[in-house]
Structures are given as C-alpha cells and as structure tokens.
Assembly symmetry: C2
Homo-oligomer: 98 residues x 2
C-alpha cells in the first residue's frame, strides 16, 4: 500500500539506499559496506524497502542484487505533487482538472 511506501521513505538510511541504487543495481553487501550500521541492520532496511516494493531483489548465485522499482517511487512523488494541487508533468499522467 501507499502508506508502507511513505513509512519506508521516513528513514534517512533507506532514502540513501535508494539514492545509491538510483545509479544502478547493486549487491546487498556492496550496499551495506557504504554504511556505518551493521550488515544485519542494513539488511533489514533493504527488507523494509522491498516490503514497500520500492526495490526488487534478485539472486545472483551467492549474492543478491537489488534494484529500484522506479514506478513505485514515481507514484510516491506523484502523490506528493498531488498534495500540492499541481500537475506532475509526467508523461503518462493526465489530469482531469478543469
């Protein structure tokens, strides 16, 4: 649901994870290494993001590759813009405001 997305975005470490993934898919351990927090802690943050469907996981043999789920992030941004009462300007969103 939408709510889990915003709750997932509420933690700075998770937003930073998304920022890292923005540049391309990365392995779990690779991501965890960028943070001060312990590996299990980062693993949990990744799980929260996955639960909100903000990221997807794919096993690559021994390791796990994460990537951003762009459309869900887009939906969240669109929801915020909707709160502004302004049109998004996104290609596939047409408003019916008169």
């Amino acid at each position: 649901m939408e709510n889990s997305v915003f709750k997932a975005l509420a933690h700075p470490a998770r937003r930073q994870l998304l920022a890292l993934l923005r540049k391309g898919p990365r392995l779990a351990g690779d991501l965890a290494a960028e943070f001060e927090a312990s590996w299990p802690t980062m693993s949990r943050h990744l799980a929260v993001l996955k639960e909100a469907e903000l990221i997807t996981a794919e096993r690559q043999g021994n390791q796990i590759l994460y990537r951003v789920n762009t459309s869900v992030l887009e939906d969240a941004a669109t929801a915020l813009l909707g709160l502004l009462g302004r049109d998004n300007g996104d290609d596939d969103l047409k408003e019916a405001a008169e």
Copy 2:
C-alpha cells in the same frame, strides 16, 4: 530538516490533513472535525506537520488557521524525483498549471 518532513509524511492522517489544506487554509477545529480521532490527537498531528514546516499556523482571535507551506512540500517531492534520477526541471515551476 528534510528528515522530519518525510517522517511527518509517514502517517496517513497527516497526509490527509495536507490534502485538505491543499484546497485552502482551514481552522484547526474544522480540520479535526473531519477525522475519527480525538481532537487532541489531531492537534498533535498538526504539531508534527508544523514542526516539519509543512504547514504554518496563524492565530485568528480565538482560533488557529493552518495553511500548507508549499515550498517545503515541493522540496520533498523534488527530493523523491531526485531519487529517480530524472530531472524535474522545477527551477521555475512556471509551467502553466492547467
């Protein structure tokens, strides 16, 4: 801080408050009346939004008028779009909104 903004957005009641305020400024009691939760509870949600500077409060005699702080909400939306790696081009935001 940016973080308090996303934390404030994490609760559905607070996003709904913003949605109500999107259409124009409203009195605290007027807003509280729209929710099932008790008035003090809504008052606290308003305080969280104010703390994040997503809204501003203005006394009108006996009552308090709240309004959305558009720029902070814009910043949050922009931050999300930034996570998408796409350019939002809102330097000006003078796009003809409808």
